[in-house]
Structure formats: structure tokens, C-alpha cells
């Protein structure tokens, strides 16, 4: 990797010398065409980054739109009741589970309500930012 170190030293010389030049000296070295090219390059880069930022924002919006949201609820218990009211199959399964499950059903129900509560709080935090 000796060649790389040597090239790095030469790069340092180029940088140090150009930074040390007076404005008059560096302008003597440069043509108007060179200056126009730099400005054009800058505008291209700004446009390029702008497009990339827009693409990222759109992708983030699309991802967010796909997130499941709890049906308007004020608590995990309300959310679970609302979900049962909106989904007959789900309601039937929970009813059967309640009849058969006993203690394990209760643990599941509490767990579901807690999960829905946490999801609701997470969305509220996001929306308030």
C-alpha cells in the first residue's frame, strides 16, 4: 500500500498549495469556463439530492400508511371491544376461547388489551412530534 500513501502525500500538496494561494493567484489559474462548470456541477448535485430526499420522504409516507392502527380507542379494553364488534370471526374465536380457556383466556385477553394500548400510545407519540 506504499503507492497509496505516496499518492495521499501528493494529494496533500495539491490541497495545501491551492488553499494557500491568494484570490488573485488562484483566479489567474482559473478560466470563466471552469467557474461555470463548478457552479453547474453544484446545481446538479443540489437537484440530485433534492430528488433523493423526495423519494425517501415518499417511501417513508408509504410505509407509514401501511402500519396497522387501532380503531379509535381510548384504551386497550375499548380497542378490544371495538375489534370484536367489527370482526365476527374474531369475536367468535374469543368467545369460544373464553368458554374453554378459563385462566389462560384471561391472560390472553389482558395481553391483547395491553398490546393494543401500547400501539395506541406509540401512534399518539408519533402524531404529537
Amino acid at each position: 500500500m506504499e503507492d497509496k500513501k505516496n499518492l495521499d502525500r501528493l494529494h496533500d500538496v495539491v490541497i495545501e498549495e491551492f488553499l494557500a494561494m491568494s484570490p488573485e493567484e488562484v483566479m489567474e489559474f482559473t478560466t470563466q469556463e471552469d467557474l461555470d462548470s463548478v457552479k453547474s456541477n453544484l446545481e446538479d448535485a443540489i437537484a440530485q439530492v433534492g430528488r433523493a430526499r423526495l423519494a425517501r420522504a415518499k417511501a417513508a409516507a408509504a410505509t407509514d400508511a401501511r402500519r396497522p392502527r387501532p380503531v379509535g380507542s381510548t384504551g386497550g379494553g375499548d380497542a378490544l371491544r371495538a375489534a370484536r364488534a367489527n370482526d365476527a370471526d374474531f369475536d367468535k374465536k374469543l368467545t369460544l376461547a373464553a368458554r374453554k380457556g378459563g385462566a389462560s383466556y384471561e391472560a390472553d385477553r389482558v395481553g391483547i388489551e395491553e398490546d393494543l394500548d401500547e400501539l395506541r400510545r406509540w401512534h399518539e407519540d408519533e402524531d404529537s412530534v
Partner: protein, 204 residues
């Protein structure tokens, strides 16, 4: 809030504020002609000896500076652009490695002559070969650019031997002022030697 947090918090964990996207754009657009001239000179001096086109190097540096938003507010923007260009030029050989990986370039790897420890995961024989070829080509371009100037050849030789100050002056047979003039001449020669569009990559 669903949009990415590009403009929400330009500070890093240590509280060092960085320029926002808008501040970087405004700062770069407000640079004066001498500052653009410096960027132009540096990009030409670095690009040709890094196997890149000057405009390619400049564009990549601008994009990084604008998009990454890592420029602290107390750092001069021209200097930051130059350091970014230097970083890109210094790692330009990785692009060549990518070209090889994509199959667009072939690298002949010499038989292991024992100089490399095959167990060294940090430097594979292929990467070592790529680096040698790439940087060797870059140095060959430097040699070609100064082939008519004995003093510049001595200067490059001294720099490659890591000589500085008095030792470098002795090698060139000059004094401090003479060395400074030679360094400036070298910088300008390298910047002029590779105008936009000149071939910098080997055609194979």
C-alpha cells in the same frame, strides 16, 4: 409525523450542531469566485491522480456534503468540501474493486510469492493486486505529467520517500523559498495535467 427526520435534528449526540440541508445549499451557492476556483483546482489536482474525472469527483463531493449533513457549523465549507474530495479520491480504488466484482474488469493475480500471508483476512490477494495496479497507474500518470521537469521529479521522489523540510530542500538543492515555489508548481502542474475529458482510466 411520518416524513423522514431530515430536518428535525441536525445536532449529533454530543450537541455539535451541523448545518441543515438548506444551510449547506445556501452556503455553497454563496461562495465567491475565488473559492469556486480553489475547488476547481483541487478537484483537477486530485481527480487525475485518483483515476477519476474532475467533474465526477466534484459532483460526488457536493452530493455527499449536501446530503450527509455532517458539516459542523464551525467548519469552513470550502475546507469541508476539499476534505470530502480527498476522502473520495483516497478511496477511489474501491470503485475499481466494484467494477471487478461486477465482472466489468479483470485483475490478473500473480502467484503468491510468499509476500502475503494468505491467512491475513484484512488484505486479500485480490485486493492487494487491485490496489497495486490502481495506485501504480495513478503514480504513472503523475510521472508522465512531470516528465519534462527534473526539479518536480525530484520533489515527487522526495515526497514519496516521506522527506520534509530541510531534507527536501537539500534533495532539490534549494532553500525554503525555492521549495515552496516547487510545491506550488507541482500542485498547478497536476491540476493542469488532467483537464476534463482526458482519459484517466486504462482501457481494458
Amino acid at each position: 409525523m411520518i416524513a423522514e427526520d431530515d430536518d428535525q435534528d441536525p445536532d449529533d449526540e454530543r450537541g455539535c450542531r451541523k448545518y441543515t440541508f438548506e444551510e449547506v445549499v445556501e452556503g455553497l451557492r454563496s461562495l465567491g469566485a475565488p473559492q469556486f476556483a480553489i475547488l476547481n483546482g483541487v478537484s483537477r489536482g486530485l481527480a487525475g491522480t485518483a483515476g477519476m474525472e474532475p467533474d465526477e469527483l466534484m459532483n460526488e463531493a457536493f452530493v455527499r456534503v449536501i446530503d450527509a449533513r455532517t458539516c459542523p457549523v464551525d467548519v469552513d465549507m470550502v475546507g469541508f468540501c476539499i476534505m470530502t474530495m480527498k476522502s473520495i479520491a483516497s478511496t477511489a480504488h474501491r470503485k475499481r474493486k466494484k467494477e471487478v466484482a461486477e465482472g466489468t474488469k479483470h485483475v490478473p493475480i500473480a502467484a503468491n510469492d510468499g509476500a502475503l500471508d494468505p491467512a491475513d483476512d484484512a488484505v486479500s490477494p485480490e485486493n492487494e493486486a487491485l490496489s497495486r495496479i490502481f495506485h501504480g497507474e495513478c503514480l504513472a500518470r503523475v510521472d508522465a505529467a512531470i516528465s519534462d521537469d527534473e526539479e518536480l521529479q525530484l520533489l515527487v521522489m522526495g515526497l514519496c520517500d516521506n522527506l520534509i523540510g530541510k531534507k527536501l530542500e537539500e534533495l532539490l538543492g534549494t532553500n525554503t523559498k525555492g521549495l515552496a515555489a516547487a510545491r506550488k508548481r507541482l500542485a498547478k502542474r497536476l491540476a493542469k495535467a488532467f483537464p476534463a475529458g482526458s482519459p484517466v482510466r486504462s482501457k481494458d
